[in-house]
């Protein structure tokens, strides 16, 4: 059994778009992750929790996002590493 998978949610390169760090995005907005910087371990942990290039998320408050059905809280230094574009 194969399930089709929508590929629109792929990553953009940071240089191609107007990206801002997650901490400067406005609360209540929907954003799309363009790029995640930082060491591999952190990127991998974030990916497992649902934050990876291409994913869409809703900014609930400064530092908390609803993504893939759950709410994640992120420290400032984590927010700095996530570049987003308006979705």
């Amino acid at each position: 059994m194969m399930l089709s998978h929508n590929h629109s949610a792929r990553c953009w390169r940071a240089s191609d778009c107007e990206c801002v760090p997650l901490c400067s995005a406005k609360a209540g907005k929907r954003v799309r992750v363009a790029c995640v910087h930082g060491e591999r371990g952190l990127c991998a942990r974030m990916a497992a929790l649902g934050i990876y290039p291409g994913v869409e998320m809703q900014l609930l408050c400064s530092g908390c996002v609803r993504v893939n059905g759950g709410i994640l809280s992120l420290g400032k230094e984590v927010c700095d590493k996530i570049l987003v574009t308006p979705s």
Partner: protein
């Protein structure tokens, strides 16, 4: 007959523990996995004459190598090979919960899915087609509501059917990872399976995925088993990673996660999940979060909640504490009336009941604080508090989660260092965790309060509330400063990034709260019964041996005899009668008190106190204070009881004797400065024995426990000397 092994796996907050409790009832026990501080919960149950052994795996979102919980979970799954995994999935949050399910599929262990919290899902307007979900994933799916036990029987039946008949034909679906990953994944899988690399533990595809994710543990094992093949696989991974970085500015983990989440959302959209309300409506939880994590309102609400917690804990525990302490006092009195004076009576009453009873007397407070904290934890608030405070704690090299340890440890006067040390388990980085553990002891735990109460009452009677406020501020400042010091010296290292799921708010169940509280309180009581019992006896012996030599004892006996002779003389008797008070008895007590003091001075503890005077005179402590502080190592409240012994109180205590506070206030050797210095020293010096034992266990080595003993005492000494000498120079409080 050997019992079958069943593992419970699931995300944190999916209701795993509730389900585990519902299945096993009382037939469970909790231990730690060797070497790590992850709890291993095991239990048993029987069905149709068959015994099942059930392991509750730590709650995880994934099976990477980035946390001890995840490592432990996959170790149990691969090395203990359970016959079946029950995957508990939160039905109200399928997107996230099925992520772990997909990884469990890849590990190839037969599975049953418990679709839990169906009631919450329904309340949110989610309609889940259980039959379709089961068909599409090709595993049994049972709807459950763990907190009320609904669906438990059907779940266990499904599990035992899988054990007996094995997983159905076809197996679970294989997740495609797209054109960038799939070809190389297949190539790696083929190489791994033809070489049989780690094939005794893991399926080849799983190992290949872990190579692509650069999983340190698996790559390490692979290198050991087959260095050449491993090097080749690593090279393939590097090539893919480089390609992904160049073309898409991403990394294999990102792509893998993207496809897994994509697979899940496609699955749910294909008819498994229907949302009755509009999809974008804000859940109540989100709305609460808007307020609770607000920059201004958030901290205010947090203060209010903490205040309510402490108010609740202290006002409700007041009566049981009095009962318990009264009970122990009555027990002591009973022994005193039925046993003749002597060593045995002294050991029972002063050593055992005085020591252990004094500490067990605090149990009600601790139970209520634990209950309050369990409520905050289960309701989902604690995660928010940690998130809000992360910024402050980070400044001092700590982590948002350190907050909980501090609060439990006495951040607002009255906690306990032992659960405080245990609460550091939520911290991931070992350096942040150690720094928290080593500074939790500075908080004002319940055992320090009697010392504060005594000295504040005697020397700062007019400023009780202000003094407690100042002391709370001092302990937080000291903890922060020392944590910062440790994190810039011996515990240097980067801060762990703060990344935490905020669970939806939930009303905790009574059953969950009771079990949670009971587990922690029992740990405390067990320690009081073992370690503290031993230490109390040891200190009792130190304070009672060696006994006064016969010659000195004879001297006191002679004085008592002479006094008795005088008191029986007729003229003395009339004086005593005229004054209407048992002045004779009081005078006799004075002699006995002098004897007790001489005996204490002569004992090991007394000699220690005298020897320590050489150092402690710099902070104004005499030998009696020293003995009290040495005794306080067993538990800080002991400082008060030893002081009262040393100042000839307590032992001969009749109602007529002055309270210890008044005696100290009248003693020329004491003044507000000495009292304040002693308060600070008591606050900061070596944590009590139980905390130290606990710290050794949690830190995994006695080296850190010993370090905390030496380090904290040094900090306390330096602060005490500075305050005392500074105060004398400036003429404050003398």
């Amino acid at each position: 007959m050997k019992s079958d092994l069943i593992a419970l796996a699931g995300n944190p907050n999916a209701g795993k523990t509730s389900l585990f409790n519902a299945i096993t009832g009382a037939r469970q026990h909790v231990a730690n996995y060797p070497g790590v501080t992850v709890e291993r919960k095991e239990g048993y149950y029987s069905q149709d004459g068959h015994d099942y052994h059930i392991v509750d795996l730590p709650g995880t979102y994934s099976l990477t190598a980035y946390s001890p919980e995840e490592l432990v979970a996959r170790e149990v799954l691969t090395e203990e090979r359970p016959q079946v995994v029950i995957n508990i999935v939160d039905a109200s949050n399928l997107d996230r919960n099925l992520y772990l399910t997909l990884q469990l599929f890849e590990l190839g262990i037969p599975m049953v899915i418990a679709l839990n919290m169906m009631d919450v899902a329904r309340a949110r307007g989610l309609e889940i087609d259980v039959v379709q979900l089961s068909q599409k994933l090709n595993v049994p799916v049972i709807a459950t509501v763990a907190r009320s036990g609904v669906g438990k029987e059907a779940l266990l039946e499904a599990a035992s059917r899988v054990i007996e008949e094995g997983a159905g034909p076809g197996g679970p679906p294989q997740i495609p990872y797209g054109p960038d990953i799939d070809p190389v994944l297949q190539e790696m899988e083929a190489k791994i399976s033809s070489a049989g690399l780690l094939s005794d533990l893991y399926p080849a595809r799983w190992t290949a995925l872990k190579y692509l994710e650069s999983d340190e543990e698996i790559v390490g094992k692979g290198r050991e088993a087959a260095p050449e093949l491993s090097a080749e696989l690593e090279k393939m991974t590097a090539r893919v990673s480089e390609h992904l970085k160049k073309t898409l500015d991403t990394y294999p983990e990102g792509i893998i996660a993207d496809y897994r989440y994509g697979f899940i959302s496609a699955l749910l959209k294909s008819g498994v999940l229907k949302q009755k309300h509009e999809a974008d409506r804000l859940y109540l939880s989100d709305r609460i979060d808007r307020v609770v994590t607000h920059r201004v309102a958030g901290p205010a609400i947090m203060c209010l909640i903490l205040y309510i917690l402490y108010y609740f804990a202290f006002s409700f525990s007041d009566t049981p504490v009095k009962w318990l302490q009264g009970g122990f006092a009555a027990l002591g009195g009973l022994i005193e009336t039925h046993l003749s004076p002597g060593l045995l009576r002294s050991l029972l009453v002063r050593g055992i009941i005085g020591g252990v009873g004094g500490i067990l007397g605090f149990v009600p407070i601790i139970v209520f604080i634990f209950l309050g904290i369990a409520f905050l934890e289960d309701s989902g608030y604690l995660a928010r508090a940690a998130f809000m405070l992360d910024r402050v704690f980070r400044t001092f090299g700590l982590h948002g989660s350190s907050f909980m340890a501090y609060i439990v440890g006495g951040g607002i006067a009255g906690g306990c260092g032992v659960p405080g040390v245990m609460a550091t388990r939520t911290l991931r980085s070992s350096n942040e965790r150690l720094a928290t553990m080593l500074t939790v002891g500075f908080m004002n735990c319940g055992a320090k309060l009697p010392v504060y109460a005594l000295l504040i009452g005697a020397f700062f009677a007019g400023h009780k509330a202000r003094m407690m406020m100042i002391l709370t501020l001092i302990s937080w400042s000291m903890a922060f400063l020392v944590a910062k010091f440790l994190r810039t010296t011996i515990l240097r290292g980067p801060n762990t990034p703060f990344l935490l799921e905020l669970p939806p708010y939930r009303l905790p169940t009574l059953r969950g709260l009771v079990i949670h509280t009971w587990e922690r309180a029992w740990l405390y009581v067990r320690k009081a019964g073992t370690v503290l019992l031993a230490v109390s006896i040891l200190f009792w012996a130190l304070m009672n041996f060696p006994r006064l030599p016969a010659s000195k004892k004879a001297l006191f006996d002679a004085r008592k005899l002479a006094f008795a002779a005088r008191i029986s003389a007729p003229e003395e008797k009339t004086v005593a009668q005229r004054s209407g008070s048992p002045a004779g008895a009081a005078a006799l007590e004075t002699i006995e008190a002098a004897e007790n003091r001489a005996a204490l001075r002569y004992s090991f503890a007394g000699r220690m106190g005298l020897a320590l005077e050489h150092i402690t005179r710099f902070c104004g402590f005499d030998w009696r204070t020293n003995v009290a502080l040495v005794g306080g190592v067993a538990g800080k409240e002991i400082v008060v009881s030893v002081l009262s012994t040393a100042y000839s109180m307590g032992r001969t205590g009749s109602e007529k004797t002055e309270p210890l506070g008044a005696v100290l206030a009248a003693d020329p050797a004491w003044n507000p400065l000495v009292a304040f210095t002693l308060i600070l020293f008591t606050m900061l010096y070596v944590p009590c024995v139980v905390s130290v034992v606990c710290l050794a266990k949690e830190a995994g080595s006695w080296r850190w426990a010993m370090f905390s003993v030496v380090f904290n005492t040094s900090v306390a000494f330096v602060v005490a000397v500075l305050v005392y000498q500074g105060g004398r120079l400036l003429g404050i409080g003398i």
